[in-house]
């Protein structure tokens, strides 16, 4: 038994903090930053959940003070030679430039022999189904948690684990909640796994642009679609993300969406492109750090979907997509469900 592997699995699903989780800690720091004469740090004790909620209310005052502090500090910054902090990007190109810098400042995950790249995502997708009794066509927006383990070594299987967590729409739970669904993939093809495919990409902007054009052609929408997929996969290789964002900034048709929300409910700022047929796709970034949060596709009109079971309509404003929660290295695959689907992908 590999003790480091078991230890790595222990509570590994603990997610990174959201902006909301860090509200008070950030406010405390900003208050401290705004008062350089203070010699002792403020302390915010949040030992118990009950006290936490009390403090959340009390924190309104703290936040107000912190916000004032931010404004004062920003004004000081404006007087200096550096760019003001917190100035929102004025265009999609500026946002992508900042996102490229943020990605360039992150480390690539490089799995060693025997290791796996492990990513956690939250996914929102449409479910179109039919009530078996009434034959009524039903549509729901399903939110699911997904995990994926991809090996560094060739010849090893990789695992996709999914569990639907909630759904909005008139679909009975038993039709969307199948419990934990494991799918184990096997393939002898060297290019099948995302990590291996990613590692074959260059990280210089011109190299990435040329390779992308070789795969997708030079039509901006086709390049965008290919690029969006690569960005989602390259969260483990931010050096590639950085180049991809710079390539994206040169595509005709991109625009800035100041207020976007990813599939995990995190607010962000996005770069979008109209895909036609009533759909707009977006790359969403954190408003402060410009790190990539995820992607989504938004219906800009009611959209009809034709399936063998009938025609379904998804209303204007419906958004589907994927939010990246964590990416790390794992020593091995977790225990796979006995009911796992096993798929062998032929070359």
């Amino acid at each position: 038994m590999d003790e480091m592997r078991e230890l790595g699995h222990l509570w590994a699903d603990t997610s990174e903090a959201t902006e909301r989780d860090l509200t008070i800690a950030r406010a405390a720091l900003m208050s401290r930053i705004a008062r350089p004469e203070r010699r002792r740090p403020l302390r915010f004790r949040l030992a118990h959940a009950r006290r936490r909620y009390t403090l959340r209310l009390a924190a309104v005052g703290v936040l107000a003070a912190a916000l004032t502090a931010v404004i004062i500090a920003a004004q000081v910054g404006l007087g200096g030679q550096e760019a003001p902090l917190g100035a929102p990007p004025a265009s999609a190109q500026v946002l992508l430039e900042r996102a490229a810098r943020a990605a360039a400042g992150q480390r690539d995950l490089v799995p060693g022999p025997g290791q796996y790249v492990h990513t956690k995502t939250r996914v929102q997708r449409m479910l179109h189904t039919q009530n078996p009794s009434t034959k009524q066509l039903l549509t729901a927006l399903v939110t699911a948690d997904e995990e994926r383990w991809e090996p560094a070594d060739p010849g090893k299987p990789w695992l996709n684990r999914e569990r639907a967590e909630s759904a909005t729409g008139p679909v009975p739970r038993w039709l969307w909640d199948k419990g934990v669904e494991d799918t184990l993939y096997e393939s002898s093809c060297p290019g099948q796994r995302a990590y291996v495919r990613l590692s074959a990409w260059p990280t210089d902007v011109e190299g990435v642009r040329a390779k992308l054009a070789a795969q997708a052609g030079t039509d901006p929408l086709r390049m965008w679609s290919e690029l969006k997929q690569l960005v989602a996969e390259s969260v483990v290789r931010p050096s590639l993300s950085a180049a991809l964002f710079q390539v994206a900034s040169g595509l005709d048709g991109i625009r800035l969406i100041p207020d976007a929300v990813d599939a995990a409910g995190r607010p962000g700022i996005a770069v979008a492109m109209e895909e036609g047929k009533g759909r707009r796709s977006e790359l969403i970034f954190d408003r402060r750090t410009y790190r990539y949060l995820g992607e989504r596709t938004v219906n800009t009109t009611d959209v009809q979907v034709k399936t063998p079971g009938g025609v379904y309509t998804t209303p204007k404003g419906t958004a589907t997509g994927t939010a990246v929660l964590t990416a790390d290295l794992a020593a091995g695959l977790p225990e796979v469900s006995a009911k796992a689907s096993r798929l062998r992908i032929p070359c």
Binding site: L7, D13, A25, R26, L29, L46, R101
Partner: protein, 188 residues
Amino acid sequence: MAEPAIAEAADDDLIRRSLRDPEAFATVFDRHAPALHRYAARRLGRDSAEDVVSETFLSAFEHRHRYRPGQADARPWLYGIASNVIGKRRRRELARYRAYARGGLDPAEISGARVEDGVGTLAVNRPLVAALAGLRAGDRDTLLLVAWVGLSYEEVAVALDIPIGTVRSRLNRARNKIRQALEGTDHG
């Protein structure tokens, strides 16, 4: 030559800049607080994690003039401070581990995890957590900085301000104890 814009600056640039422009330190927070919160939550529970993050960054800000130039990545420094902050809550950490090992604490409170559902997982995790509780504090810090944060031996040495040989010996000792606990499970 102009200094790089905030978003692209390395941690040591930001910390150096924060000596005259304190707000630059907020970028260090934004960059590292989410992951540090996760680490603290795994050790102390989510309820204490924000407290640890807050105290760590306030302390880091107070002592930023001591930051060693040339260290582009601030994680060893920040997690070293966090280790001290967590160390002040050692009783809470141990109580939490022991409660979990006894099964007296709802696992969902610790992780909200589906992976905890499996009886096999619990059978591994309980002795594992009990062994964690039995480690020396320094050994536990060393082990978890490697296992959960992914720091290299050199980075752990910087974080805990100990020689690299001590990192190796602590890690060996901790791993042996964990392994023995898990093997006990296998035979049990």
